[in-house]
Structures are given as structure tokens and as C-alpha cells.
């Protein structure tokens, strides 16, 4: 039986709520199912005290989730769009991320902030951003961005069980995607990337929805005789440099692809680290595919014109493989 990304997230939340009484969901409309229906039916099943609606108060509800986590709950907070996480930045950056450190290890913040990001369907400039690099700059946070329904299931469960504050980024373009969950899915370790497709000529490093573009590009390039290895980072903070290093040692050529603005994006950090740690392995400069430096436009034609996609990855790989 196949399930959508949304249905599989719901299943993971349902199972975690049943497994651990410390798990609580909160956010705007979550008891009614949430804006995207991820939490539909969970309040009815687990009670309104476990799945709680909140006012539109991102700063306060993020603070409440953090304070509750300090006291041993495992809150899963839904921030409807990552664009709205800007309203919760004081808490995430100054409190949630630093509590373990500032307290000298006396306290911890085992909390997951589920949020939804990326551009699709004319959501325009304030509901389409990819702001992950803002958060990967903050010591103490963990940032996870699944690329498929099956990946989301395991990563969300692992995130809920972790003892650290996790920003869990769901791409809206993936929500309707369907996959069948394996009988016994092993939970991934947070911080471990996966090789989504093995190849020999060029490594494409991607995450979230861009992994699908990378796989599409790899199919197309295979027909042209270019063998592409696709790495799905899964965890953006911390980065799994060991998996990246193993791939670069094989291909010696790297393209990093993300939907976020290229300037100061996560690709810049990965590129710098490959440059300094794996310089001898490289046969060509590391190149990046990212969004041009502009807000996301509304008109579908403009949105398409701006967003990086499969053709950009194909072009970048061809230039390196040429």
C-alpha cells in the first residue's frame, strides 16, 4: 500500500504519540489537522491535551515547546511555513539551541520543530523560502530535510527520539508524493547521509526535494553515458562529511544542488569543506546549483524562470564531466 508524504508523517506522529507519553503536538490548527492535514485525526485518537491548538503566536509557542522540553516533555511543534519561523528566531537561536550549553549540561531541549518550506504553485515570496542555512549556522541545533515519504518517516521518528532541538524541514512539493513503507523500516541515525544512487563519474550532493531532481538528472545523464552518484544529505546539521568523502574519492567531481539562494547557502559550506579537506581528490572545482539572488515571484512563469531544477543539474554535471 502506498501512502503520501503527508500520510506517512501522520503515521510516524501517531506511532510516536502512542509509544511515548512525553510526546505532545502543538501548533496552529494541529488539533483540526493542521494547514496541510498532517495531524488529521490525531487529536481525536490521542486527546486534545496531547495535540493542542495554539494561537498565531510563533514566538510564544516556540518558547513554550522549549520550556516544556526543559521539563522532560518531547514537544513536536508545527510552524506552518518556514517563513514564519522568523518570528520564532529569538527562541530557536537564543534559547532552544543554547540551553544545554549555557547550563553546563544540566538541561536539554528534546524538541522537534516541523516546518514546511520551498517553492511551488505560486505561494510567492513569503511562503516559499528555503531558509535552512540560517539555522545550520547555529551551534546546538540539528537540521533535517527528508527527500521522500519513506525517508521522512524514519527521520521524523529519529528526530523525536533525539535529545536535541531539531528543525525538521518538509518540502511542500513532496507532500503529495506516494511511496510504500517497507515492512520493518530501520530508523536512520540523525547525522548520516545516504547514497541515493551509486555512480562513478560525478557526485551530486542534494537534499529535500532537490534529491528528486538530482535523480532525474542522473537518469538523463546515464543515457548519455555519464554515471552520476547522488548523495541525499538528510541531515544538514550536522553534515556527514564521511559519506561525502567516500564519494568524492571515487568520482573526483562534485556538484552541490539546493533550491535555496546560492549566495551563502549550505552549498558554500560544503564546497569549502571539500576544498580544504579533500583538495587532493578533486579533478575540477566544486560547482553549485542554487537559486539566483531574488525573492520567489508569484507568477508561475516567473517562478519557473527563477527556480533551479533538473536541467540546471544536468548542465552543471555535463560541464564537469566534459
Amino acid at each position: 500500500m502506498t501512502q503520501t508524504f503527508i500520510e506517512i508523517l501522520r503515521r510516524a506522529l501517531d506511532e510516536e504519540l502512542a509509544r511515548d507519553p512525553a510526546v505532545h503536538l502543538l501548533g496552529e490548527d494541529v488539533a483540526a489537522g493542521g494547514a496541510f492535514g498532517v495531524t488529521r485525526g490525531l487529536a481525536e485518537k490521542h486527546g486534545m491535551q496531547r495535540v493542542r491548538n495554539t494561537p498565531i503566536s510563533e514566538a510564544a509557542i516556540t518558547g513554550m515547546a522549549t520550556g516544556a522540553a526543559l521539563c522532560g516533555l518531547r514537544p513536536v511543534l508545527e510552524i506552518m511555513f518556514i517563513d514564519f519561523a522568523t518570528l520564532a528566531l529569538d527562541c530557536l537561536v537564543n534559547q532552544s539551541a543554547k540551553y544545554r550549553y549555557m547550563s553546563g549540561g544540566q538541561l536539554a531541549v528534546p524538541m522537534v520543530v516541523r516546518t514546511q518550506a520551498g517553492a511551488a504553485g505560486g505561494a510567492a515570496a513569503q511562503h516559499s523560502q528555503s531558509l535552512e542555512a540560517w539555522f545550520t549556522h547555529v551551534p546546538g541545533l540539528v537540521v533535517v530535510a527528508p527527500s521522500s515519504p519513506v525517508e521522512a518517516y524514519g527521520l521524523l521518528k529519529s528526530a523525536i527520539r533525539l535529545g536535541d532541538p531539531v528543525l525538521f524541514i518538509e518540502h511542500k512539493r513532496l507532500y503529495a508524493l506516494k511511496e510504500a513503507l517497507p515492512e520493518r523500516a530501520e530508523l536512520p541515525r540523525i547525522g548520516k547521509a545516504r547514497v541515493a544512487r551509486a555512480g562513478n563519474d560525478v557526485t551530486v550532493i542534494a537534499y529535500s526535494a532537490m534529491v528528486r531532481n538530482a535523480l532525474e538528472a542522473a537518469d538523463e545523464l546515464a543515457r548519455a553515458g555519464i554515471s552520476v552518484e547522488v548523495i541525499d544529505l538528510r541531515s544538514l546539521l550536522p553534515l556527514d562529511m564521511a559519506t561525502i568523502a567516500a564519494s568524492v574519492a571515487k568520482t573526483h567531481r562534485v556538484v552541490i544542488a539546493h533550491e535555496a539562494v546560492q549566495n551563502c547557502g549550505l552549498g558554500a559550506e560544503i564546497s569549502a569543506r571539500i576544498g580544504s579537506e579533500l583538495f587532493d581528490e578533486l579533478d575540477a572545482p566544486v560547482t553549485r546549483v542554487g537559486c539566483p539572488f531574488a525573492p520567489i515571484p508569484f507568477a508561475p512563469d516567473l517562478e519557473r524562470a527563477l527556480l533551479p531544477g533538473t536541467p540546471n543539474i544536468v548542465r552543471a554535471v555535463r560541464e564537469l564531466a566534459g
Binding site: A59, M64, G67, A68, L73, N94, L107
Partner: protein
């Protein structure tokens, strides 16, 4: 609301000593900061001691407390060890947080001090979260958050008031209205004179009291906390007080008149409790002995804290994540 019990004189005497402990502690922070021995910028609660002592007298160890950048007094009043608290402010390994937090980030989890925060108003929703955790588990403890009147300028103050009432949280908001947000007087930064007035629109009970009158603080906090423990939801207690020191150590306070500074002594909560106790028949010699004992206890603890070693630089990357495998991120 039931009329609160008047504390026996023996309890008031203990609280008199507690006021002196905080006063002496802050005096030592000020002295050593001036001597360059305290890193950063500590904020003193000198003159506001009666709020900390009067409220914390009603708290159990399990009750959680959140405070602001001006939180030394609350931390001590909740039961934190004097030496470990001072060592933290000095940045020593024996400090509450092993030197990772300092004056603005004091945490003593074992005594329910879940933390001071350096961002004004940032502590309010954390305290609401702690209250929610207690409620969710059916535990009897409550949560208390101390903040200054300056915090009312932040949106999250209003968000938290609203949520606390909606969720009927066992949360006591204690505003220490010292009349100043940093260097700006309340008249200049808000059109709302009394912080307690913000509670009414959200349907929260509130009261404004003289925060330098310890028996008054004790009585009002006792009544408010009793209602919290009965499950009646949050309460806002506004304590009018006075910051006898500047905003931070070294603040020249040019924004205050000579007359205002001269009136400070008259408002001193320690002097006032002393007069109150003398009126109840206590002997001045006994009160002086209590004060002296508290002073000596703190001075000795401060000296012990000063002799402690600094944290080992090799441990600077500890406590970032729950597991070392997550922390393998080069700087």
C-alpha cells in the same frame, strides 16, 4: 480570595537574613566587577530583594523558576548554593553551569532554577512551557517567571499572557516594576502606567503591590500561589520596586536626579523590614546579628568561589549536543 496568613515573626527574621544574603552578594559582584574580576556585564538586583525573597518563600524545590538578566537574587532565594552561584558569575569551573552561562544565564536545575535569560521577555514563554509540562503530567508544581517592566514592550509578553489564560496554566507572572527599562523611564516607553493593567483584557487576575514591603509581597504572592495550586490558572503580580543600582555595573546613572538617588535609602526593603520587625518587638541587636551572620556566610562563600579554578579550555566544546557523534563539526 482568602486572606493570606501573616508569617510568624520567626519566618520574617529568616527572610530578613535572606534579604541581607542577596544584598551582600550583589555588593560583592559590584566590588569585584569594579576590580575587573567579573567578566561580562552583570546586572544587580540591589533594592529589589524583597520581591525575590517574598515570592520564593512560597515555592517548593519542584516549582520551576525563570528569571531575567537581573536574576542573581531570584536564583539565591530559590535555594541555589551561594558559592556555586558566585563561582558561575566569576566564570569558574565550580560554577552552577561550569562557567558556560555566567551572570545572565544562571541555571540550577536541582533547585528548580531553570534559568535566567539575557533577552528581555524571552523567559516568559519558557516559563509557560514549564507550567504546561507540569499540567500535562498532572504534577502539582507551578512555574514562576520574574521579569522587568521593560518586558511589556515585547510582543511575546502579550502572546504568553494570552496562552497562559487559554491553557489555564499554573504560572505566576511576577513583574518587578523598577521604573526603568535600561536607562529609559517607564513614562517614556509605555503609555500604560501599571503593568497589571495588561492582565484584565486577557481575563487574568492581577494585583499591584509595594514590592519593597516584604510582608506585603509575602502576603500577595502567597495568595496568588495558593490560587495557582488550586488550579485556578495564571496570575500577574506587579511589584513596584526600585533598582538601587544602575542598569549594569558601571552605569553612571546620569538619567537620575540627585533627589531621586537620595530617596533611595528611604525605599530600601531591608531598612523597611527592620523597622517592621522592631515594631513587632524584635530586638535591634538580634536583627543586626542576623544580618551580620548572613553577610559573613556570603563573604566566606565568595572567597571560596574566588579560589576555584577556571574551566579547562580543552572542555570548551562539551555540552553542545546530546552525543559526540552530532558534535563533529569543525569550527
Amino acid at each position: 480570595m482568602n486572606s493570606p496568613a501573616v508569617p510568624p515573626v520567626s519566618d520574617l527574621k529568616k527572610m530578613y537574613g535572606a534579604l541581607w544574603r542577596i544584598r551582600t552578594f550583589e555588593g560583592q559582584v559590584q566590588r569585584l566587577a569594579a576590580a575587573g574580576e567579573v567578566p561580562g556585564f552583570p546586572h544587580l538586583s540591589t533594592g529589589q530583594e524583597a520581591v525575590a525573597v517574598g515570592v520564593c518563600a512560597h515555592l517548593t524545590r519542584e516549582d520551576t523558576l525563570f528569571t531575567s538578566h537581573r536574576g542573581h537574587g531570584h536564583t539565591l532565594a530559590k535555594g541555589a548554593d551561594v558559592q556555586a552561584t558566585f563561582a558561575e558569575i566569576l566564570g569558574r569551573d565550580g560554577g552552577l553551569c561550569r562557567g558556560r552561562g555566567g551572570s545572565m544565564h544562571l541555571v540550577d536545575a536541582a533547585n528548580g532554577v531553570l534559568g535566567a535569560t539575557g533577552v528581555v521577555a524571552g523567559n516568559l514563554p519558557l516559563a509557560a512551557g514549564a507550567a504546561w509540562a507540569a499540567q500535562a503530567r498532572g504534577e502539582a508544581n507551578i512555574s514562576v517567571v520574574f521579569f522587568g517592566d521593560g518586558a511589556t514592550g515585547a510582543g511575546v509578553f502579550h502572546e504568553t499572557l494570552n496562552l497562559a489564560v487559554l491553557w489555564k496554566l499554573p504560572l505566576l507572572f511576577v513583574c518587578e516594576n523598577n521604573g526603568y527599562a535600561e536607562f529609559t523611564s517607564r513614562e517614556e516607553h509605555s503609555n500604560v502606567k501599571q503593568v497589571s493593567a495588561f492582565a484584565a483584557p486577557y481575563g487574568m487576575p492581577a494585583k499591584t503591590i509595594d514590592g519593597n514591603d516584604l510582608p506585603a509581597v509575602h502576603a500577595a504572592a502567597g495568595a496568588a500561589i495558593a490560587s495557582l495550586r488550586r488550579g485556578e490558572g495564571p496570575y500577574l503580580l506587579e511589584c513596584m520596586t526600585y533598582r538601587m543600582a544602575g542598569h549594569f555595573v558601571g552605569d553612571a546613572q546620569h538619567y537620575r536626579s540627585k533627589e531621586e538617588l537620595a530617596a533611595v535609602k528611604e525605599k530600601c526593603p531591608i531598612e523597611r523590614l527592620k523597622r517592621h520587625l522592631l515594631g513587632l518587638g524584635a530586638a535591634e541587636s538580634e536583627l543586626d546579628a542576623i544580618g551580620e551572620e548572613a553577610r559573613q556566610e556570603v563573604l566566606k562563600a565568595v572567597e571560596r568561589a574566588r579560589t576555584g579554578p577556571p574551566p579547562d579550555p580543552a572542555t570548551v566544546l562539551e555540552y553542545v549536543y546530546s552525543s559526540p557523534s552530532l558534535a563533529e563539526i569543525p569550527g
